[in-house]
Point group: D2
Chain length 335, copies 4
Amino acid sequence: MKVYQIGNEAGIDALTLVERPEPKPEYGQILVRVRAVSLNYRDLIIVESNRTDSNSHVIPMSDGAGEVVAVGVGVTRVKVGARVAGTFFQDWVSGNINAKVMKSAMGGEIDGMLAEYVTLNQNGVVLLPNHLSYEEGATLPCAAVTAWHALVTKGNLKAGETVLILGTGGVSIFALQFAKLHGARVIVTSSSDEKLERAKALGADDTINYKTTPNWEEAVYRLTDSTGVDHVVEVGGAGTLQKSIKAVRYGGYISLIGVLTGFGGEINPQPILGKSITLQGIYVGSREMFEAMNRAIAHHQLKPQIDRTFSLSEAKAAYQYLKSGSHFGKVVIQL
Amino acid sequence: MKVYQIGNEAGIDALTLVERPEPKPEYGQILVRVRAVSLNYRDLIIVESNRTDSNSHVIPMSDGAGEVVAVGVGVTRVKVGARVAGTFFQDWVSGNINAKVMKSAMGGEIDGMLAEYVTLNQNGVVLLPNHLSYEEGATLPCAAVTAWHALVTKGNLKAGETVLILGTGGVSIFALQFAKLHGARVIVTSSSDEKLERAKALGADDTINYKTTPNWEEAVYRLTDSTGVDHVVEVGGAGTLQKSIKAVRYGGYISLIGVLTGFGGEINPQPILGKSITLQGIYVGSREMFEAMNRAIAHHQLKPQIDRTFSLSEAKAAYQYLKSGSHFGKVVIQL
Amino acid sequence: MKVYQIGNEAGIDALTLVERPEPKPEYGQILVRVRAVSLNYRDLIIVESNRTDSNSHVIPMSDGAGEVVAVGVGVTRVKVGARVAGTFFQDWVSGNINAKVMKSAMGGEIDGMLAEYVTLNQNGVVLLPNHLSYEEGATLPCAAVTAWHALVTKGNLKAGETVLILGTGGVSIFALQFAKLHGARVIVTSSSDEKLERAKALGADDTINYKTTPNWEEAVYRLTDSTGVDHVVEVGGAGTLQKSIKAVRYGGYISLIGVLTGFGGEINPQPILGKSITLQGIYVGSREMFEAMNRAIAHHQLKPQIDRTFSLSEAKAAYQYLKSGSHFGKVVIQL
Amino acid sequence: MKVYQIGNEAGIDALTLVERPEPKPEYGQILVRVRAVSLNYRDLIIVESNRTDSNSHVIPMSDGAGEVVAVGVGVTRVKVGARVAGTFFQDWVSGNINAKVMKSAMGGEIDGMLAEYVTLNQNGVVLLPNHLSYEEGATLPCAAVTAWHALVTKGNLKAGETVLILGTGGVSIFALQFAKLHGARVIVTSSSDEKLERAKALGADDTINYKTTPNWEEAVYRLTDSTGVDHVVEVGGAGTLQKSIKAVRYGGYISLIGVLTGFGGEINPQPILGKSITLQGIYVGSREMFEAMNRAIAHHQLKPQIDRTFSLSEAKAAYQYLKSGSHFGKVVIQL
């Protein structure tokens, strides 16, 4: 079978497409014919960082969906023919995150999904909602679960509350969709008026172009009657965090989302105290969250926003496209 | 000014419309020209029960809305001209319910709103959402806050969860509207196909006529893939509670809503244990809940469902109409 | 190996001690040499009820502790030589209870621990705190986890709150110990002054003999300045529940604990509403709760209260002794 | 009456003791004969910062206790003769913090307690536990409520969890005492072995001298089996925060406590994300928290740790002493 592996050297160009023998499902495992994968910024960072010893030749990419084509002994949770997506953390079923969970992240600590066939533990998958294609299902494991964890599981978002969402990448667009499902008011920022128009079409109540409005935190304040927003989905990094802290209300909530090595810069923690803010690091989520989210997605026939789809042989181009930052929603590769 | 008072004897006929001097706002109080009141089943029970010593001559009805026409010394929270609704419990601003709060319920423990003018403490009112008339605003203090408290504050309702709502009275219809705001799936029961049609028009996903389907709890089970619902809004009493317990999932949640003396019959508590159910008595809610709810109502321009409006002189007819049980949503009296 | 099995007919006398081949651990399983088991009231009910078809020949008793003597392929969580206790629900690691979890209760739905050797899934055990003997460790899976779940996980018990504990059986004594660990005030009821003395020695702040004080709920009220307690650990059944509802404060919390078929009688649900009470059915708990509890037990070198220890051949006498109700704390069988 | 006021210029020396007429309680107010006040680091910062226009001549110090000597019209919550402490935020009864609450902080935004007599709104006081002197009671409003809010209200601290407490100032020692009340394990850091001994005497399980162990975060890690602590009470500032983030477990909780202008330096927010940490700014708390805390203090006859007591005329010396940092627990002034 065809499979990509991370190179000995850093960089997208070091990715190689190789032929490997098709894996066999062991006790408790299932064999999945992968049909689509989706890219996250973390995938890019992993490929670009030089961590030769730890993840050279690892199969990249955490997010994928496909069909169960065989099951090992002892498998009771899924059947051959089932349409599934893998969970980002293979060992996080429910409960709290811990050190063991951290070691089970696909496409980094362990092999990922950019292969025609993968074996996964039966506990490491969820059923896809019926109305979703494999491409759409492949967008969920990292970005969608992160957004759900931040706003719904931890954030307890309620109708009438206001959410500030930075940008229009994968997590941000899912956050917009889930916030609207829960009746919240949503403010979106971007540097592109065209993307802001698309966010409005998805339900954004207010939009701010942070290029033409560099003091966007003040614009947010004005939009909330000088109170500040209840939640911020913060994907920007240290630079935007200072402004997000200004844009949130007393006692408000900021979900810190990003990538393990991509959050540069420093912030002054004093205003976190002065405004009694909760700053919550969100790193994807559990299978239990994924299943609760899928129930909502299925009930509302919600469609993930796919920006562009590449073929398997174009995988490097897909990475380059993500790196360019011009996407709105998710970038997908079909297998 | 004209004001109704509860009679020395029990019964709707003992209500009397009398003339009283207009009250004056004392320190921290506001004077409200009441423009509309709404009826709850509790109001009926209070009038029909013979509690002569405790509430004879009390002004009935907890729910009303009007205009602030004067303020006493020390009032800073509201201004003359403000459009307000009173809070059911005059002493429940936020935090937990307690014995002191219980003594501040309007139209029972203390005077209510069925009068042309009332004085209220400045802390005992909320501003009406701009898009609501006085009649619509008057429907909120008891029924809407109860539904919000049950499903949102305590219930932490999330998109994709399933809510079973019994009946189509005031609390039930608000519960339906709030559940839909939060992206939940809603199943409504009623004995009237016509009312079920109206519930569907408001967003109910599934409906069950409990007259033609006496084993409605089994129908609920089938509608939820034999899992049971996540939440039940239980307004029926001991008779329906047994069935609600059957209709809820393991670890599910039942909000027990009703009226202080109107919940007859007995239940076997064993299945509450066997299914790990949380049974939560909900008795209206705090001003903080009311304000959070109003924010959602304002954002969504949500309209309360008024069944029928009576004039002040027809107050007894309004009580009779509520007693007949033929209403869908709220019964209102204009002043 | 020697193993007890439930008889074809109902009753303690139908229990039989038989010889069976020693089981072998399959993939992911461990083989445990059981050293001690402890009895719960549920074990008695299962043996006494005539459920021939469903659990005849099932190995009884959910609670046991022993040494890991062999591990199957794929076992990474425990090592040979580890001292472990089984979890009551073999399939409840963390998260919410559900229908699948309910089918994994040992000593009822599946085989239990009253055998010299048992095989368990590696996920179905916890490590014993070092300071505990096997006898002490065997008391934890059902009674202790139930008490922890009720007061700590769900109850969020805080220092200074008041807990009412009915009786001095297994769950009640653990509830007393855990409540004291969290700085709560504890009131214990019993019909025996001698048992109340022992409860005092374990830290009970106040005790009430419900035989000499039949209106014990009024005594509780007086002890709490006519406010009522914050939490009730309700193990009595419908009869005591009416009184517990009277003894709890507005907005208070009652944990309903008991056995699946042993909670006779009916109650009027009206006061649950009138006092805004939360009535929470508690049915043991997850492994995650068990582990959190063990951490507290280890830190405080807390000792479970063992009332009496029987030998394997005296198992029927142990059941009879539990049935007599004269125990204080737990009844244990050594193997 | 004698009263201190903040000077026109910055600095402790600019504090002046002046004579003012005794205030009279207006509607809803009480007159308190202050008997003791306690110092917080915030008091020092306010006096030392040059904020002439905003709080010159304001009466300093948020924390005080005394006797109610007169009540205004409309006072029902407290009686003449009651022993009370004021709440730090006069307008925070319960619920969430907000902009209005922030404007009601005594000794800064509004007059404080360093006066022989003060008038307070009846809602801005709590009753002192009977076993506490006025000096002890005066230590509670800021430091103790902050520690309770962090660990108990927000932190939901449970027995067996591990808490890391930085330093031995007012908040830290209360945090130590409250953590022990809830059965937690406590690790305390200090630069003084003598203070660490005193912390041990109050129940600290482990202590670390950060002078002799500059990499104290690694020592913490070793003490927790390389897992990290569950909670950190972070009072140090940006410098220690980096280490605290290393010392906490995945998914752990850091309470950020300090003073509005005293939290210098910057931190890299990336590890907050990488470890899924919750960083929670804690700024004192509500009256509801204060009352819950007092219940625990009363039940356990817990004694605040007073380091040294000064007379009214020595107030400047008290500020100097706090500034020196040599205290363990609270610094008090008697009136």
